[in-house]
């Protein structure tokens, strides 16, 4: 295990920011930490880095106790903070150089790594510019370049894609996967379930400081796949339709929203042909049909009754 958190508790006066969390992360993973705003993700990361004191529990990184080996442990970690943490008055090159030097890189190795990190994030051509002139996405990428140039064993990314255009986002997600292939273990924090779903192998979902679910993507989804969701676009509305569909065996719920039918059935009810039958018999035409697969969003919704993004 590269990181082991046991029964961690962190309070801010009356806010319980981390509530008895236990997380284990194996080497080589891209580990997703998914949770809505205020779930306690950033707080958790700060405690991992020793920046915030915690009240109970223990943290072990690289098999060592954090409190006793803070300095050596930090050398092997790269952090991409949630808030942009770059110097707006230093050039892109100088920004990366500065953090490289803080991690002890010097001489030719330093130069090589600066070039590598800037190429990696697509900023080499803009190395002589100050970030004041950068777009949001470019600043985010510089934020990443500063964190990875020392080839850390563990990279922690705290919402690295907040507030940027889709193109930059994809570039960043690709680079996360690349970094992982190059040998770094990655902790990826986000409240966008699509991102976590796309790149993470193991995931922990947290809410109000508590770990509410953890496992692989498939494990998490199977938690909610005791039901199936069916969305059907229909040509016209018939009042008897909803009542008729509710009588179909296996259908738990049926609702109509404009010309869209939403049907939730028990898992493995095998009632799709019956449902279509009922609709067609009412002289209603089916214009589209969508069987919704379980998503992490759905998992969160099922577990908390709330959506991730509200």
């Amino acid at each position: 295990m590269i990181l082991k958190i046991n029964n961690l508790v962190k309070r801010y006066k009356d806010v319980l920011a981390v509530d008895n969390a236990s997380i284990s992360i194996a080497e080589g993973e891209i580990y997703g930490l998914l949770g809505p705003n205020g779930a306690g993700k950033t707080t958790l990361i700060s405690t991992i880095l020793g920046l915030t004191k915690y009240d109970e529990g223990s943290i072990e990184i690289f098999g060592k106790d954090l409190k006793k080996n803070e300095y050596e442990i930090k050398k092997e970690i790269g952090i991409v903070p949630q808030d942009l943490a770059i110097y707006l008055d230093l050039t892109a090159y100088e920004n990366v150089e500065y953090f490289g030097r803080l991690y002890g890189l010097r001489g030719n190795l330093l130069k090589e790594r600066i070039e590598e990190a800037l190429n990696f994030t697509g900023l080499w051509d803009r190395r002589k510019d100050v970030p004041k002139k950068f777009s949001g996405g470019m600043k985010r990428r510089l934020n990443i370049a500063c964190a990875v140039m020392h080839h850390p064993k563990l990279i922690i990314m705290d919402e690295p894609t907040v507030g940027i255009d889709p193109q930059s986002r994809n570039l960043i997600l690709d680079s996360v996967v690349k970094l992982n292939k190059m040998g770094s273990t990655i902790i990826y924090t986000s409240h966008y379930m699509e991102e976590v779903e796309a790149i993470c192998s193991n995931i922990t979902i947290i809410d109000h400081g508590r770990v509410i679910a953890k496992g692989t993507k498939e494990e998490l989804k199977s938690m909610i796949s005791f039901e199936e969701r069916l969305a059907i676009d229909i040509s016209s509305v018939n009042f008897n339709l909803v009542d008729g569909l509710k009588k179909v065996i296996g259908v738990k719920e049926c609702s109509l929203n404009g010309n869209k039918l939403l049907i939730i059935s028990e898992k493995n009810a095998n009632n799709l042909s019956r449902i279509i039958d009922v609709i067609l018999k009412m002289d209603v035409e089916i214009k589209g049909l969508n069987i919704e697969k379980p998503t992490l969003e759905g998992v969160f919704l099922t577990l908390t009754g709330r959506s991730l993004r509200d």
Binding site: T42, T43, S46, L49, L51, T52, K53, Y71, E72, K74, K75, I77, I79, P81, D83, L84, A85, I86, Y87, L88, D89, L90, E94, Y98, F99, R101, L102, Y103, G104, C146
Partner: protein, 368 residues
């Protein structure tokens, strides 16, 4: 020394910082020079010499570099003063030289509209010239030849007599004022430089630096060291300017001045750091700094001599560090050595300890 190097680089790149570091003190000192030298340059001195001896001739000649000398009659003085033809009228009474030689206490009558700044340096010069003459008279022991010889030596400045007296004669008023503004600028600059710590906190790089293998102690130490170096650069630049461009009298020991100002720069930085850690954000910091600095420099005597203030304010001025550095500077300018200012330097160091304690008072967690 990464943090140290990059902090200096960032401050030197910031126009606002450079303005507070150099432009402000240089601007103020230029202003001082204009005030001190402007009137003096065109000044006319009307002289009525009833005595007319070798000594009075030497005396009048030595006034030559203070203004334009015009020989006039005594009854012309008032009219010429009022019509601004002369700025100062001097009357040397008959028997003046004899009185000086025989160690009596003769007076030169000086007339001016009122004692404006313009005439002050000249009257100081005259006082000093008279004082020097009396010393020489004492040494000559009533012998007029020896006296005249001594005077001419004094004026030509070829022996020790000049060292002892003439130095006092050259006005250091402008130097003292210039130092007052330098002291003020040092305070301003150290607050604005320490503001970079606040900027780091607001820009979150502070947080990021501490996620690297860097201890908070290390970070602060390197920041403080960089401020210290920059403040010395400020002092030295201003010194060079005062000495070589404005040709101000910097007193007998530049080194001693630098030592005193080095101690003061520690006070400035501890003040800046304390202010930074006590204010919530950059805005509060920049609002707070003039509120604290201006009374400090006013009480301390940056703008005017402390002695002209009411008793209560003079007492109050003991609790601001600017008082103690300006006292030190004045002592050094007038020839005293470092030993004579140990008390003042000690007090300054105490101020810096107090400020450092204030700055580390609230050691909360690193805010994310």
């Amino acid at each position: 020394m990464t943090i140290f190097n990059f902090t200096i680089r960032r401050i030197m790149r910031d126009k606002g910082q450079l303005i507070t570091m150099l432009l402000v003190p240089i601007g103020f000192i230029t202003l001082v020079m204009m005030l001190f030298s402007g009137g003096q340059f065109n000044m006319s001195i009307g002289v009525v010499d009833y005595d007319n001896t070798e000594w009075t001739q030497s005396f009048i000649n030595s006034l030559d570099n203070k203004g334009i000398i015009v020989s006039i009659d005594e009854d012309e003085i008032e009219g010429k003063l009022l019509s601004n033809k002369i700025n100062l009228g001097l009357v040397i009474p008959k028997g003046f030289t004899d009185d000086v030689v025989s160690m009596e206490n003769p007076q030169i009558q000086a007339y001016s509209i009122n004692e404006t700044d313009v005439t002050v340096p000249v009257t100081i010069f005259i006082d000093n010239f008279l004082a020097a003459s009396k010393h020489i008279a004492a040494a000559a022991d009533g012998n007029i030849d020896t006296f005249n010889k001594g005077i001419s030596l004094y004026i030509n400045g070829s022996n020790n007599v000049k060292e002892a007296f003439y130095d006092v004669g050259e006005s250091k008023g402008s130097t003292v004022s210039g130092m007052g503004f330098l002291v003020m600028s040092m305070l301003y600059f150290s607050v604005s430089a320490s503001g970079i710590i606040m900027e780091d906190k607001e820009g979150k790089t502070f947080y990021r630096v501490l996620t690297a293998p860097v201890r908070l102690r290390e970070y602060m130490l390197q920041k403080i060291l960089s401020f210290l170096v920059l403040l010395q650069a400020q002092v030295i630049t201003v010194f060079l300017l005062m000495k070589y461009v404005f040709k101000m009298n910097m007193g007998p020991s530049l080194f001693n001045l630098l030592v005193a100002l080095f101690v003061f720069s520690i006070v400035c930085i501890s003040f800046g750091v304390a202010l930074t850690s006590l204010s919530k954000n950059t805005r509060q910091l920049s609002a707070l700094s003039p509120i604290l600095i201006i009374p400090m420099v006013m009480l301390g005597g940056s703008f005017w001599p402390r002695e002209i203030m009411p008793e209560i304010l003079i007492k109050l001025s003991n609790i601001v560090p600017t008082t103690w550095i300006l006292i030190s500077i004045e002592k050094i300018l007038y020839g005293q050595n470092l030993v004579s200012i140990t008390t003042e330097l000690g007090i300054l160091l105490m101020f810096s300890i107090v400020f450092f304690l204030l700055g580390t008072w609230k050691k909360t967690e690193i805010e994310v």
